[in-house]
């Protein structure tokens, strides 16, 4: 029963993804490896769509993955069912945890052990996102097969690396462009991708 599995996978994601929307991404890469419902490239495309549409990115990702997975089962109706099931899976742990926390609000925030646990959780969650980032970089900026054969020049996606450097400078160095919304950089990258025939 694929919908049950979908619900369960996103339930786990909702329960263990700590620290916002980007934290869901390592779980989705894990899901892609495990089930092959969607590829790593699909996932990178979904991250871009999730970033550039209204709504919290974690929710957008769940909806999108659920939609694509449901689509495989038949058509538009199963796709929408998949989207709803994945989204409900993602938010169910939130509702349960928040209900419990709301009942013990003061003691939760000041609890020593909760703070201690988060001391370890924050760097771990960041490490997981970094690992997901490395895998996105490996599949888009490097050509691992050529590198393994010692072909240095073919081993790198030079156009992609140049674009990445430009984008990094725009998002980190220049004051004027730093604060712009990600959607602008995604649009810019799409135009450059078309002009220089990337991907």
């Amino acid at each position: 029963m694929i919908y049950l599995q979908l619900f369960w996978e996103f339930f786990k994601t909702g329960l263990f993804a700590i620290g916002g929307g980007m934290a869901t991404i390592p779980f989705l890469y894990d899901l892609s490896d495990k089930t092959h419902w969607f590829s790593h490239n699909d996932l990178a495309n979904m991250i871009a769509v999730g970033e550039s549409t209204p709504g919290p990115i974690g929710v957008n990702m769940a909806t999108y993955v659920g939609y694509v997975t449901g689509m495989e089962q038949g058509g538009i109706l199963t796709a929408i069912l998949g989207a709803v099931v994945a989204t409900l899976g993602l938010i169910t742990p939130s509702v349960i945890v928040i209900m419990i926390v709301a009942a013990i609000l003061k003691s939760f925030r000041n609890n020593r052990f909760v703070n201690h646990a988060f001391y370890g959780l924050r760097p771990a969650s960041t490490g997981l996102i970094a690992a997901a980032g490395i895998s996105v970089i490996a599949s888009n900026l490097l050509n691992l097969d050529s590198l393994k054969q010692g072909q240095f020049l073919q081993g790198f996606n030079w156009k992609g690396i140049a674009l990445a450097m430009v984008l990094w400078v725009l998002t980190n160095v220049f004051k004027k462009t730093k604060k712009l919304h990600p959607i602008i950089f995604i649009g810019f990258a799409a135009v450059i991708g078309i002009i220089f025939q990337m991907g």
Binding site: G19, V49, R109, S125, L128, P182
Partner: protein, 180 residues
């Protein structure tokens, strides 16, 4: 019943206006929940937002659930939460169909080739931003590097790292605390 519908619609509005991450929603929440509806005070909202950040799950969803729960109990939580995810469901479902229909066109594939490069940079930036808060001393640096390296090298569920890290955080802090 009317109040629940109002909560659903208010949080649907918050959902539509939250572009990207959870932090983007704070100013919108302030306007809708504090100024317009008076469901919470400014201080309460900051508290709920802080709790939303340090509980599992998507920050925006956690915050919406919390406000709903505090104002109108269980059903308030349910309606606020469904409200905040409703726009995502509609918009992504519409868009996914459109993207699927056009995905075989060559220049659309080129566009996504460029977009995926941008995603690399966006994830990198997110990691750098999170690092500043997460890595505060040597043990947290070791946890970060250890999890990142293990996660690249081994095919284990992220759940395992999260559980180990939480336990490690408690152990390190308790032992460190005793020394002082």
């Amino acid at each position: 019943m009317k109040i629940f519908l109002e909560m659903f619609l208010t949080f649907a509005k918050v959902g539509v206006m939250t572009f990207g991450g959870g932090y983007a929603m704070l100013p919108i929440l302030q306007r809708e929940v504090v100024d317009n509806k008076g469901w919470a005070t400014e201080e309460e909202l900051m508290d709920y937002f802080a709790i939303g950040q340090c509980t599992p799950g998507v920050i925006a969803v956690n915050t919406a659930t919390f406000i709903g729960q505090k104002c109108k109990g269980f059903w308030g939580a349910i309606f606020s939460t469904l409200g905040v995810v409703f726009p995502s469901l509609v918009i992504i479902s519409l868009l996914a169909g459109v993207i699927e229909a056009f995905s075989h066109i060559v220049w659309v594939q080129h566009a996504f080739g460029g977009i995926r490069v941008c995603v690399c940079v966006l994830i990198l930036n997110a990691v750098v931003k999170l690092l500043k808060k997460a890595v505060v001393d040597i043990p947290t640096a070791i946890i970060f590097i250890g999890v990142a390296v293990c996660s690249v090298c081994f095919d284990l569920s992220p759940v395992i790292y999260v559980l180990i890290a939480a336990a490690a955080g408690i152990v390190i802090q308790v032992i460190g605390g005793k020394k002082k």
